[in-house]
Symmetry: C2
Subunit: 356 residues, 2 copies
C-alpha cells in the first residue's frame, strides 16, 4: 500500500448545484460551545458537530435496517425528476386539477429495497420518508432509546418548546432534492449516513419565496424552482439570499421553525457498504452491489413554544408568517371557500394599498 | 296674470352634472305599495314619496330653525371647492401628513346664518351637519315627536334593525356635494326643502370604488373623484354603474347599509323664502334676501340587524365588505400599526394570489 492510494472521503463537490442567489455559511459549532444555545435561543440555524444525538444510529445501513425495522409499511415517494415536492394528500384529492408532483407508494422495507434495485436504471427516483413508530424491531427501539435525549431534552426545556411530535426517517437516492419549504415546527435535522446540502432562508424572506396559498396542496412550499427560477412571476426571488450547511454522519442541523429549507442529497466519494442479505422471500433477489448509494437522515420535530402572553411590536418575521397563515385560513372560512380568498385579498389591495 | 307667467317649480336640470358611468333610476313608490317593503327587505334602495315621515318638518325654513333650534352649537364644514369629503377627526390628528379636505367650525345657528351671508361671494362653501340633540327648542321637539314614527318603527321592527342611532340635520348650499362613501348603518334619508340628487352604487362595486384603507381618516370614502376620475389608478371605476334618485320635499330615500352614495344639492327653480328675522344681537345684520339658497335634509340612521346565527354561502356583498373591514382592523392590531397592513397584504397577494 502506498500513501498515494489513500481513499478520499466525504462528498463529491461536483454534485453541488449552482444557483442564482448568494450563499453564506451556517456556523458549525461543538455542542460544548455556549454559542450554540445563544443561536437556538435567537432562532438562528446552527450545525452541531458532536452532540452525539444519533450516535446509536450511525450503524443504520440498509442491511441493518432491513433486519431490524420490522414488518411495518413505509411511505416511499417516486418522482420523474430529482425533486420531491411535498403535497397534502387530502387537499390534493379535493382539488381535481392538481397534478401530483410525486407518486406515493406504501410498501414493506424489502419492497423499498427492491424498488431501489429495479429503478436503478429508470428515470423514476425514489425517496423513503417514514415516521418511526411502534412497528420497528427491538434493536431499533434500543438504538432510539440510546439517542442523546439528555442533550436534546435540555434544549427543549430551556427553549420552552412543546413535546417531540415525531421522528421522520429519510432514505433517499443521491441527487434527490426536497425543494424549498418551511415547517411549522422546530427541527433537529440529524444526518446518519451520506451527505446532505441544506440551504436555509430566514422567515423574513417570505416575499422572496412566494409560497403557494395556504389552502393549496403545496402549502408551505415555495413556488420557485431554484434550478430554473421564473423571475417574471417571482421578481423578488432576486433578493433571496441563502445560508448553507453540508451535513455528514453525526451532524445535527437546527432548522428553526418557519425557516425555509431545501435539502439536497449529495454524491458520496465513498458510499457505505449496506451489508444486505439476499431477498429470499421474494421473486427477485439482490445483493448490496445492486443497491445505488443512498443517504439516511432522521428529523426531530418539536412543537413550538407557546405564544408569549404579551406581544412585542414590531412582531417578528416568524409571527408575521403565522399572522398571514391565519388570515388566509380565516378568509377561506369566512367566505366558505378557499377559492375566493385570492379575489378578496386582491380587492382589498388593488388601488388601495399597493401605491408606490 | 297670464298662464304664460306660471312659475316653474322643482330643480334646475342644468345643475345635474354629467359623469362617466351609466345611471339607472331608483324606483319611486307610494308608502302604500307593498313593493316598498320587499325592496327594503332585499336591501335595495327605494324612494318613498308619501310616507309622511317628516311632514311636521316641512316648515323648517331658516327663519323657523333660527327661532326654534335653540342655543346649542353646530358643526359647520367649510370647503374650498364644492366637495365635502368626510374624515375622522381623531385619525386625522394621529396622521400628521393628512391634509384635511374640509375645515370644521363649531358655531351657534345665528353664526352659521352669518357665515352663509358673509361667504356668499367667497370661494369657501359651507355645509351644516349636526346631530339633533336635547339642546333644540320646544317647537322642534314637538315637530320631532310628530314625525311618522309609526311608519318607520314598523319597518325597523319588520327588518329586525337595531335602535335609531341618530338624526343628522343637513343644511347646505346648492351645489354642495357629499362625495361617494358608504355608511355602516341603515338610513332613511329624508328631504325637507330643496332638491338633492342621490347617486347610489351597490356594495358589490367595492372594487370599482377603491375606498381608502380602513385606518385612513377617510375610511368608507371612495378615493375616486367623479368629476375627474383617475382611470390609471382606479381602472375598475370604468365598471361602475349608478342608481339615481332626485329627492324633493317630503321624499324619503332608503339607503341600505354599505350602499355607496354621493349626494348633491341641486339648484332650485323656486328657492323658498326663509323668513329670517334680523340679527339684532350681532354686529352685522341680515335679512332673507342676503341668504343664498340652501337645501335641508334629515337622516334617520338605524343600527344594523344582528348577524344571522348561520351564515349562507356564498356570503352577500355586504358581508364581504364587513369581512374586509374586519381583516384590515385585525391586521392593524396584530401588526401593532395600521401602516404595516398594506405591505403585509401585498406580500400575501403578490405572485401568490394575483395570477391571471
Ligand atoms: Zn422540512
Ligand atoms: Zn352617508
Amino acid at each position: 500500500m502506498s500513501y498515494g492510494k489513500r481513499r478520499r472521503t466525504g462528498y463529491d463537490p461536483a454534485s453541488i448545484q449552482e444557483y442564482t442567489f448568494p450563499i453564506e455559511n451556517i456556523p458549525r459549532l461543538s455542542a460544548r460551545d455556549p454559542e450554540v444555545y445563544r443561536l437556538i435561543q435567537a432562532s438562528r440555524p446552527v450545525v452541531i458537530s458532536d452532540s452525539g444525538l444519533i450516535n446509536s444510529a450511525l450503524k443504520w445501513n440498509l442491511g441493518y435496517l432491513q433486519e431490524n425495522l420490522g414488518d411495518g409499511s413505509f411511505h416511499v415517494y417516486g418522482s420523474k425528476d430529482n425533486r420531491f415536492k411535498y403535497y397534502d394528500e387530502k387537499r390534493a384529492k379535493q382539488c381535481k386539477s392538481f397534478p401530483k408532483p410525486v407518486k406515493r407508494y406504501e410498501v414493506s422495507f424489502n419492497d423499498f429495497l427492491k424498488m431501489l434495485m429495479e429503478k436503478k436504471n429508470t428515470r423514476e427516483r425514489i425517496y423513503l420518508q417514514q415516521m418511526l413508530n411502534e412497528s420497528v424491531g427491538q434493536e431499533i427501539v434500543k438504538d432510539y432509546v440510546d439517542f442523546n435525549w439528555d442533550w436534546v431534552g435540555r434544549i427543549q426545556n430551556e427553549q420552552g418548546w412543546g413535546p417531540l411530535s415525531s421522528n421522520l426517517l429519510l432514505i433517499g437516492l443521491e441527487g434527490n432534492i426536497t425543494p424549498v419549504h418551511y415547517d411549522e415546527q422546530e427541527n433537529f435535522f440529524s444526518q446518519i449516513s451520506g451527505y446532505k446540502r441544506c440551504l436555509l432562508f430566514s422567515p423574513d424572506q417570505f416575499e422572496n419565496l412566494y409560497p403557494h396559498p395556504v389552502a393549496h396542496p403545496c402549502d408551505r412550499q415555495s413556488q420557485v424552482d431554484f434550478s430554473k427560477p421564473d423571475f417574471e412571476r417571482f421578481p423578488k426571488f432576486r433578493n433571496a439570499r441563502a445560508m448553507e450547511a453540508i451535513v455528514g454522519p453525526g451532524d445535527v442541523l437546527y432548522i428553526p421553525m418557519y425557516w425555509w429549507h431545501q435539502v439536497e442529497s449529495l454524491k458520496s466519494l465513498s458510499p457505505i457498504d449496506h451489508k444486505l442479505r439476499d431477498f429470499s422471500t421474494t421473486t427477485s433477489s439482490g445483493s448490496s452491489g445492486d443497491i445505488p448509494p443512498v443517504t439516511v437522515s432522521v428529523n426531530f420535530w418539536y412543537r413550538a413554544a407557546p405564544l408569549p402572553a404579551t406581544v412585542k411590536f414590531p412582531i417578528s418575521a416568524q409571527q408575521r408568517v403565522s399572522v398571514m397563515r391565519n388570515i388566509e385560513k380565516l378568509l377561506a372560512s369566512a367566505l366558505g371557500s378557499a377559492d375566493e380568498v385570492g379575489k378578496l385579498l386582491s380587492t382589498m389591495v388593488d388601488g388601495r394599498y399597493n401605491e408606490e
